[in-house]
């Protein structure tokens, strides 16, 4: 193997195989994916997915900028390849359709914190904001870093703000002060609460129902409203 051009040719072929397998091949197959209409999603004819509202899109930028992807994934694994579904992180595995409107796609590769693919189903904006300001207020012993720079600790002007955080005692601001989310925090909360992967798809159908025995009462109890 002493010829430069032959070496280059070999390297080119090796690289081309890898590139075809992981870049061009998938791009030809799924690069042009579009939202699907699937009768299992909610009502028939509904398309999936739908684009996020504007605030959520801004929040995705904050999510990317603050490196949330270093600790959180946004992908649910199938039932046989992990306990994601059993943990309540999703009702079905994630598929390519779930990320069609995400830019950038922040799937993540490490779970220092829980998966967020369906965080919008588990948390409302108030819970997200509280967790961003001081995670240990909700989960003692959490190693998630607090993000006080997304909030404003300020003197209460007259009446307490409607969206001031309700912080438990050790983390509450001194009397006369309140903690109010900045627009960035609100956008990030809008993003996290927009995360949900609904509806069974052709690629991710519901699990088969076991043929079960009935548990209908054999005898109608006397104080039951059913006659």
């Amino acid at each position: 193997m002493n010829s430069g051009p032959l070496l280059f040719l070999g390297l080119f072929v090796a690289m081309a195989c890898s590139w075809l397998s992981f870049v061009l091949g998938p791009q030809l197959q799924i690069g042009d994916m579009r939202p699907t209409t699937n009768m299992m999603v909610g009502a028939s004819g509904q398309i999936y997915p739908n684009p996020e509202p504007g605030a959520a899109h801004q929040g995705a930028e904050i999510y990317r900028a603050d490196g949330c992807v270093s600790c959180h994934t946004e992908q649910v694994r199938p039932r046989d390849l992990g306990s994601d579904i059993n943990r309540g992180w999703g009702l079905r595995r994630s598929t390519g359709y779930d990320y069609l409107f995400a830019q950038p796609v922040l799937l993540g590769s490490q779970r220092v914190g829980p998966d967020l693919a369906n965080a919008g189903r588990r948390m409302d904006a108030a819970a997200v904001l509280l967790r961003l300001y001081e995670p240990r207020a909700l989960t003692p012993g959490s190693i998630m870093p607090p993000h006080p720079f997304l909030f404003d600790k300020r003197k209460i002007q007259g009446v307490r703000s409607a969206d001031a955080l309700q912080l438990p005692a050790p983390f509450a601001p001194p009397p006369g002060y309140e903690v109010v989310p900045c627009p960035e925090a609100r956008a990030l909360a809008a993003y996290v609460t927009s995360l949900h992967q609904d509806g069974y798809l052709f690629e991710a159908p519901p699990p088969p129902q076991p043929a079960g025995k009935t548990n209908a009462p054999a005898k109608v109890p006397t104080n039951s409203p059913v006659k």
């Binding site: 890898s18 992981f22 390849l81 390519g96 012993g141 607090p146 006080p148």
Partner: protein
């Protein structure tokens, strides 16, 4: 040293000493620039890693400003290590190997130096961008798009000089290190341009981004950095033991199978991609057992009659430890990709342990071994200055123990975390509590790495200052 090569080996006729001195002298300024910058970035990278890992024990540490939040510091740590240290070190060692093995002077040393300056400038801008919130979100590819072009052009300048040096070689038969160096130079240009185009310039749609990002990260580490480290190992172990490499054919087998199969993979088992893509990755990773075995057999046969000599030489010690760590990391990767194992260990600290072992344990140590040999000869081929032995020990032992502690802690912690996660009755908070011990050990490992790197920096500075002082006294003597 006999002049006629024996039929059993292909050692070329040794060139006159002055030729190697000239070759090393031609590399002086550009390689010092590459290596000097690399070592400074390494220090910064390990420091960022320490800060990031301290945050696990006190999440409020440096949390008040967005610049130092964990997500940004972690991205900065990886970037400083891979692009500040990794690429320049790989390029520097690669260029020197091409010069020495081809018996040619470095082509365009001024161009290489300019490339190095632009590369470091771009990495600096990119890192500041990351800390200011412009990170891309793709692991191992975090620098914002506005530095991609400068990075690519400066890389090309350096790589093309290497190609020209190779083209001008006086020595026709190729040694395995040259294949590895050329492979690594070629690989980075393709994967970096693909990733920049398809992730930043004109982003592809949906999960294709993740497929490409994972492919890029895997190829960057396994092939680009892997080939660079292997080139150094394949060169220094036979050379410093004054024995030929056991088998040219085994080296060729390792090279081609690693290029072909080692480049498939990097995609976690449960990823939201059609199953064929993931299966191709599994197959590629399992087939890397062939190059791992080929390298293991080749070097075992090369060194087994000379095991005591491995510890005697400074460069050899770093290099053979790097080799052993490469073999272990390769084995872990194969095991970790099997579906039953990956269901347990994906997204835990287990793959992070592999990352640490590969990048610090294998690549950094191989680069250290090479730098310990090359830098004195760059400064003065005739009478190379010597490193301070105490500082070398102070570099090796903390680094070695730091890697070992980090690796074992994260490996065991990752597997434990996987078991806890696989049982839904453990809440996530309980899973986190279970990993704290491993994280403490990991922080200790990170601290050891910082300490070791500081001593290396000091030794480097001491060597430079000794050389400069000697030059100055000699110039004064000449004038007198």
């Amino acid at each position: 040293m006999s002049v006629t090569a024996s039929p059993a080996q292909t050692a070329p006729c040794p060139p006159p000493q002055s030729a190697t001195i000239q070759i090393d002298a031609s590399c002086r300024l550009p390689l010092l620039g590459l290596f000097g910058g690399a070592v400074l970035w390494l220090f910064l990278g390990t420091l960022f890693a320490l800060i990031a890992s301290l945050k696990f024990h006190d999440p409020r540490f440096l949390a008040n400003e967005p610049y130092w939040t964990y997500g940004r510091i972690h991205a900065a740590h990886r970037t400083a290590l891979l692009y500040g240290f990794g690429v320049p070190a790989a390029l520097g060692v690669g260029l020197w190997l091409l010069c020495r093995l081809g018996r040619a002077l470095l082509a365009g040393p001024g161009v290489v130096l300019i490339g190095a300056i632009f590369w470091n400038t771009a990495v600096t801008i990119g890192l500041i961008g990351i800390l200011c919130g412009d990170s891309t979100g793709f692991e191992s590819f975090q620098m914002p798009g506005y530095v991609s072009a400068i990075l690519f052009v400066s890389y090309l300048l350096i790589a093309l000089c290497g190609l020209l040096t190779f083209h001008r070689r006086a020595e026709a038969p190729l040694y395995s290190s040259q294949w590895f160096v050329l492979g690594s130079f070629f690989w980075f240009s393709w994967i970096f341009s693909t990733a920049s185009m398809l992730l930043l310039c004109r982003p592809v749609r949906g999960v294709m981004q993740s497929s490409i990002a994972w492919w890029y990260a895997h190829n960057f580490s396994s092939i680009f950095l892997g080939f660079a480290g292997l080139a150094s190992i394949f060169y220094f172990i036979p050379k410093l033991l004054a024995r030929p490499l056991h088998s040219h054919y085994l080296a060729a087998l390792a090279f081609w199978t690693l290029a072909l199969f080692g480049s498939w993979g990097g995609i976690p088992g449960g990823a939201p991609l059609p199953s064929w893509i993931i299966s191709m990755g599994v197959v590629g990773a399992v087939l890397t057992a062939v190059p791992v075995l080929a390298v293991a057999v080749n070097f075992y046969q090369t060194v087994r009659h000379d095991l005591e000599a491995l510890d005697a030489d400074l460069t050899l010690r770093f290099t053979y430890v790097a080799l052993v760590f490469w073999l272990i990391a390769g084995a872990q990767q194969i095991v970790g990709v099997l579906p039953n194992v990956s269901a347990l260990t994906d997204y835990t600290w287990f793959p992070v342990a592999h990352w640490e072992l590969f990048h610090y344990g294998f690549f950094a140590l191989a680069m250290f071994g090479a730098m310990y040999y090359v830098v004195p000869r760059l400064l003065n081929g005739d009478d190379p200055p010597a490193w301070s032995a105490a500082l070398v020990k102070a570099h090796f032992w903390p680094t070695f123990f730091g890697i070992l502690i980090s690796y074992i802690a994260l490996l065991v912690g990752g597997v434990g975390q996987g078991f806890l996660l696989s049982d839904p009755k453990y809440s996530f908070a309980q899973v986190t509590r279970g990993t704290l011990m491993a994280l403490r050990a990991g922080t200790l490992g990170d601290l050891c790495l910082v300490v070791g790197t500081i001593f290396f920096l000091l030794n480097f500075a001491l060597l430079l200052s000794r050389h400069c002082r000697r030059c100055w006294t000699e110039t004064r003597k000449e004038r007198a």
